[in-house]
Amino acid sequence: MTARDQAHEHGRGGPTRRQLLFGGAVAGIGAVAAIGADTLARGQGGGSASTEAEQALNGDLTVPFYGTHQAGVETPPQAHATLIALNLRPEIGRDDLRRLMQVLSDDASRLSQGVAALADSEPELAHVPARLTVTFGFGPELVRRGAADVSALPSWLRPLPAFGVDRLEEAWNDGDLLIQVAADDAFTVAHAQRMLLKDARSFTTVRWTQTGFRRAHGSEKSGTTMRNLFGQVDGTVNPAPTTEDFDGLVWITDGWLAGGTSMVVRRISMDLDTWDRLDRSGREQSTGRLLSNGAPLTGTQEHDEPDFEATTAIGFPVIAEFSHIRRARSEDTSQRIFRRAYNYDDAPRGDQVSTSGLLFVSFQADVDAQFVPLQRRLDDLDLLNEWTTPIGSAVFAIPPGCTEGGYIGETLLA
């Protein structure tokens, strides 16, 4: 955290383009370049070598791999993420799964610290961790094959019930092993993905991969709520990591998943073309929030509590009955989830101009008790359903973290 704070300290000072360029050059090439940069900088009438050399680089920032929980859940969302769902090869059994998770955990522990994995063919590409996290999730088939007894399978670890709004495509559904690779640098994600998949290859085949993005690191103040490609501030009401509220909603407390959680992945197609036909007030009505800053229609600031009782002069609710924020909210405060979504923007085909959407990711202790009732309310009524269509769906158990020398999944497989 200290390193990150430091980086932001520099960010607030507003590094110039020149500082950024030379900062990178100094770190990359070393002392010779530093002298050159210094000379050049003085020639341009500003800066000193030491100032340039002290420029903190985002690429050096790391997130611990080992811990009570896996990284990549509480971690402030990185700019880039790729989710990979793998199918286990037919012959893979419990002992194989143990070997697989030992290898993958070792890779992840090294890569996340900016160290090449063992047998890394491109070790130089590992040297920019950029807050890389690798998070592993187990689908029902992996738990069945890996468990010593059947009671290990949580009742919620199965495909979600069918919702009326779903138009699921098999290509985006389910999976036996989920790997979430996230970093502030897409290059780092690509290398980690390649390394992990090479090591998973003799055990698994790729079922699907989904890539998502947020704002680039440093483009916005850290902690700014994400916007989706509809332009909406998306994720305002989200439990804050490391709080008691978050811990109670997200972390499982017993069994082999103690310290773990569950993950719901939904690929939600967003029809930007029909959304374009909607005027600004209609867009705000659909969610119940202002587009400008995400404030509820009854407030002025993003985090103002919405007033669901407020009515217009002619007696209609200010926040409409069909609005997303009204429908998403339950009187039962245990029916909440932690969202950690990404945007996607695929290449359009034919006469399309965009194929965009939301790579929805949520974590919760119990899918059936928290996610499902929430999604049922939205399925029944949510004006946003006019423009959004779930086209992929998957549920995974996220095992707890491990200590050095251990591996992810050991509470199931050991």
Binding site: A3, A27, F65, Y66, S109, Q113, G114, A119, G405
Partner: protein, 181 residues
């Protein structure tokens, strides 16, 4: 700012790494009895192995890699190596032969690691050659190796197995390919 913010972790190898005290004329590598030589510390005491790994293979040949560090004040020489994974193990170097091809062959006199220095074993370079696997080496399996030094002291280390497409050097003597594909 070139320094890394954190230090490397070497979970699998270090956790399992066992540095044995020297045992001068004793083949029992589990012995921890001190060396009877006059030297204060044996080569085995001064050497550690980091980031070791061995290439997965179903049968036949494979190779092990890693970084051998000599933290002592005297040069050490690895003269032989044994492994749980292969009935026959050799120390190999990769050199250019008379036709210009890179081939591997047994290293005469073994590997000498200077005091305070290290020796990197890697694909396409020096390596520990496993000539006859006793059973398939599958990704994630661990293999145990024992290095013996010129002073008869030993050091044991464990290496995880990794799938690896490279390390397909030609073996000088037999012209056999050590790849498993």
């Amino acid at each position: 700012m070139t320094a890394r913010l954190t230090t490397p972790t070497v979970a699998l190898t270090l956790a399992a790494l066992v540095v044995l005290a020297g045992c001068s004329s004793n083949d029992d590598t589990t012995s921890t009895s001190p060396s009877t030589s006059a030297s204060a510390s044996s080569a085995g005491d001064a050497v550690s192995i980091d980031d070791a790994w061995v290439k997965a293979a179903d049968s036949g040949m494979s190779a092990a890699f890693g970084e051998i560090k000599n933290t002592g004040t005297e040069d050490v020489t690895v003269v032989s190596v044994t492994s749980s994974a292969s009935s026959m193990v050799e120390l190999h170097e990769t050199v250019e032969n008379e036709t210009g091809a890179m081939v591997m062959r047994q290293k005469d006199g073994g590997f000498t690691i200077p005091a305070g220095g290290d020796l990197v074993l890697g694909p396409g370079a020096n390596h520990i050659m496993l000539l006859d696997l006793t059973e398939p080496l599958k990704a994630g399996d661990e293999a145990t190796f024992t290095l013996t030094f010129s002073d008869d002291s030993t050091v044991e280390f464990t290496a995880p197995t990794k799938d690896y497409s490279g390390a397909n050097e030609t073996y000088e003597d037999s012209e056999m390919d050590m790849g498993d594909e």
